[in-house]
Subunit: 176 residues, 2 copies
């Protein structure tokens, strides 16, 4: 049984290109907190879109969507939930607006190089985007704006997932 403790509330916001390793890493981080009996919620871009399929991929729709997720994260944080969010969230303006909503916000930038992400392409989406069969794909047609002042930068092409996970945990324990 997990309990929310008001003092634990925080938002770990993983941002980066498609296939940079966000979801996998977020899941591993969540497992650690769950094993400690802490209240942790994983908000994942792909999974949330299944709940809200109508959200578009143009800049305004993406910003709106990310702001809504930020609002949700901020409410959960308020009640002591550790929120681990994995969203491409390509635009600085929406990430900044979430920072403004949250109390303990950590922007974690997965700067895995584009060429590595392209070669991983677990869902074949880069291929479809490069063939022009998907439009508005971040990294191909749409820009990814790297965080200006992230709390942590992780490259999952040089770090293993457990190593990257431990960096995140170290960050959190150093300040919490």
């Amino acid at each position: 049984m997990t309990m929310a403790n008001k003092n634990n509330g925080c938002v770990l916001w993983l941002t980066g290109l498609p296939a940079s390793g966000k979801s996998t890493l977020a899941e591993e981080v969540c497992k650690v907190f769950e094993s400690k009996g802490l209240a942790v919620e994983h908000l994942d871009g792909d999974k949330v879109r299944e709940v809200f399929p109508q959200t578009g991929f143009d800049r305004a729709s993406r910003n709106d969507h990310i702001r809504r997720m930020g609002f949700l994260a901020s409410r959960l944080e308020k009640y002591g939930v550790i929120v681990v969010a994995s969203f491409i969230s390509p635009y600085q303006e929406s990430r900044d607006s979430i920072r403004g909503m949250c109390k303990n916000f950590y922007e974690i930038y997965l700067n895995t190089p584009l060429e590595i992400c392209k070669s991983r392409d677990p869902k074949g989406l880069y291929k479809l985007a490069m063939e022009g069969k998907i439009l508005n794909f971040t990294g191909i047609q749409e820009p990814y704006e790297p965080p200006q002042q992230p709390q942590l930068v992780l490259d999952t092409s040089t770090l293993s997932i457990p190593q990257a996970r431990d960096r995140i945990l170290d960050l959190l324990y150093s300040v919490h």
Copy 2:
């Protein structure tokens, strides 16, 4: 300092026409829980729209918006927060989809008569809608679909706000 207790989590969903008394009643219910040191979150239609101003008022946009709020409510409930939601939420389909997402969901229908709501008109919106200056206004141009099987029906033209508040508390204490 309020603490979330997993056993307390529930969603009290107030639905009804504009000016039927939802927000006022929700605030009074929240005050009671807050005074007991319980974790309670008020999700209010008007306030949430300030955070997400781009949401439209057509049927699809409203349904999407209400589903998003339901998702938020369900996540908060999961961690022991008492969620008091006050939304017109005019369509049965979106209210039903929220019921499906939540564990302890109470649909509370404010059936204050339309004529009373019109005469209250605290923000002058009924007037603007009747003059055709606001479109898609529930109760004027758009239908309100009354709940088929609400857990509670309250008419704030015959009940005082404290009376209506106590009915909600009685409902909750009778099952929790």
